[in-house]
């Protein structure tokens, strides 16, 4: 069952189009990623879905409600962690959770959330004294304290160290396993690849693809490389031997180090050919295709290139 359905959503700021007809749907119980470079329109799209902004055109339904018209009922059912928001410096962790719990008709027990998010020993600490990771965990706990059916998390690991990011990912998976649908806005490829069940790739205000992370990667026909070291065998005509295989576009050799470049599933053909000619190789490595490759293939330019 789709909990979010967005179709043809448009939005402009001062004549500059930010969303050019965004459409996607989110299924119940999944972690749905919205991936794109900074300025792609991810946050605007999600804020229209949350009812924080009004789209110029198109439609959005969240849990069967119209964010523009049924905002009040919708806000009871969703939890939101916004990018760039802070709490007052002097509010204590428990006070913030207790306060936000009081906003909802059927809140969760915030003491439980304190435990779950590893904030129990920070119960009486002031917000201003928390580390980046602790603040982020508090924001997630605040997004969940109302007992939402859908949680929106925007750039939740920005500014965290690698260890804190990994820890955050683990708890996000637990949130989904607890039955909450998660919409995750991110510009980190690794985060999306690790966490998301499905991803919408957003570029210049449009959704250019929606698929599982591995589906997106498999769909890419980008050139990649495999490397190996020749151990034994008669290998004088290696270039001719491998160069004609389907998918292979180049073979280069330095001593017994070989690099084969190709597209698609050329690696299988290469290993089969090596076996057929009884060439023994070691240190075989196949360059793994990533979401970065998928992004380049979908948009025609590298991810970091925002121009």
């Amino acid at each position: 069952m789709a909990v979010i359905e967005v179709s043809g959503m448009t939005k402009s700021y001062a004549g500059q189009p930010v969303l050019n007809g965004v459409s996607f749907s989110v299924e119940e119980g999944e972690i749905f990623g919205i991936l794109g470079p900074n300025g792609a329109g991810k946050t605007t799209a999600v804020e229209c879905v949350e009812g924080l902004r009004r789209p110029d055109g198109g439609s959005a339904r969240v849990l069967g409600l119209d964010p523009g018209k049924d905002g009040r009922r919708l806000r009871e059912l969703i939890g939101v962690q916004l990018q760039h928001t802070q709490l007052p410096e002097n509010i204590k962790v428990w006070e913030a959770l207790d306060l936000y719990a009081s906003f909802y008709a059927r809140p969760r027990d915030w003491r439980e959330l304190l435990e779950q998010w590893g904030l129990a020993d920070k119960r009486d600490a002031r917000f201003g004294k928390l580390s980046g990771g602790q603040k982020q965990r508090l924001f997630i706990a605040l997004a969940l304290v109302g007992g939402p059916k859908v949680a929106f998390l925007d750039e939740l690991t920005t500014g965290l160290d690698p260890q804190a990011r990994r820890a955050t990912w683990e708890v996000i998976k637990r949130v989904r396993d607890g039955g909450v649908t998660v919409v995750l806005v991110s510009h980190f490829m690794d985060e999306v690849e690790e966490l998301c069940d499905r991803v919408a790739v957003v570029d210049r205000g449009k959704v250019v693809a929606v698929d599982t992370p591995s589906g997106l990667i498999d769909g890419v026909d980008a050139e990649h490389q495999m490397r190996f070291t020749l151990m034994t065998g008669d290998s004088a005509d290696l270039a001719a031997l491998l160069g004609d295989l389907p998918g292979v576009s180049g073979v280069s050799r330095t001593g017994d180090q070989v690099v084969v470049t190709g597209r698609g599933d050329f690696a299988t053909a290469v290993t089969a050919a090596l076996a057929r000619h009884q060439l023994l190789v070691a240190d075989l490595r196949i360059g793994r295709r990533t979401l970065d490759d998928a992004f380049i293939a979908l948009t025609g330019r590298p991810f970091g290139d925002h121009a």
């Binding site: 924080l52 806000r75 002097n90 936000y100 906003f103 909802y104």
Partner: protein, 234 residues
């Protein structure tokens, strides 16, 4: 406890933890006590002056800094994703700042009336009307600062920058009779000057004059409308 009560409790705690709030209470009290040593019993000048200073500090400094900081930190925006509307927070803040102004003034009246034996007007109604109108006008200015300032520090700066000329024009820095007549006359019609003037009228044993009440009410209304017009939630 419902959301509004909880919000009020938390905001009250935050206000109590805010050193600025302490200063808005202590600065006028300090002025009162320092100059209070040289007044004669029954004095009718020092207490209304320190009341105007106290309300001015809350309205021009504490209120706009708090609100602009909340907007800057995204607190208002975060609230708008919950079932509670961010206007509730503004309402609670206004009420608490009013309580802060009342506390500061109550303390001043108590100290001046007992220890310093300054004159305290007997008409509670006249005093209440003067206090409410003056506070409304000063809070309106504070709201306009909060609406226009891009962040908390800017609001703080604008508040401080506005405070001194307004206090001067209101005759709170130099006694009015020593001021150039033009400035004194103009000053009486500034928000803080008009407030000081109605307080002086009350301390002289009368009721605030209709003209001055109208001036303060007009400031309160027009400046709040401007603030509402320019206020941004983010």
């Amino acid at each position: 406890m419902n959301a509004l009560a909880k919000l009020t409790t938390v905001e009250l705690k935050l206000l109590a933890r805010e050193p600025g709030a302490m200063f808005t209470i202590l600065i006028p009290l300090f002025i009162l006590v320092v100059f209070g040593s040289s007044i004669t019993p029954g004095d009718t000048v020092l207490l209304p002056m320190s009341l105007a200073i106290a309300v001015g500090l809350v309205g021009l400094y504490q209120l706009p800094t708090t609100l602009a900081t909340y907007r800057e930190r995204g607190v208002l925006r975060r609230l708008s994703t919950t079932p509670v509307r961010p206007t509730s927070l503004l309402t609670v803040q206004l009420a608490l700042q009013l309580v802060l102004a009342l506390t500061a003034c109550g303390l001043l009246v108590a100290v001046a009336g007992t220890v310093l034996r300054a004159h305290v007007p007997s008409s509670a109604l006249a005093l209440t009307v003067a206090f409410l109108l003056g506070t409304a006008a000063m809070f309106a200015v504070g709201l306009l600062i909060a609406a226009l300032a891009p962040n908390g520090r800017a609001a703080n700066g604008i508040g401080v920058l506005l405070y001194f000329p307004m206090a001067y024009l209101a005759g709170l820095i130099q006694p009015p009779h020593q001021m150039p007549p033009v400035l004194r006359n103009v000053g009486e019609y500034t928000p803080l000057g008009a407030f000081r003037r109605v307080l002086a009228e009350v301390w002289a044993g009368g009721f605030p004059s209709p003209v001055m009440m109208a001036v303060l009410a007009a400031y309160a209304l027009l400046i709040s409308l401007a603030a509402a017009r320019f206020f941004r939630w983010e």
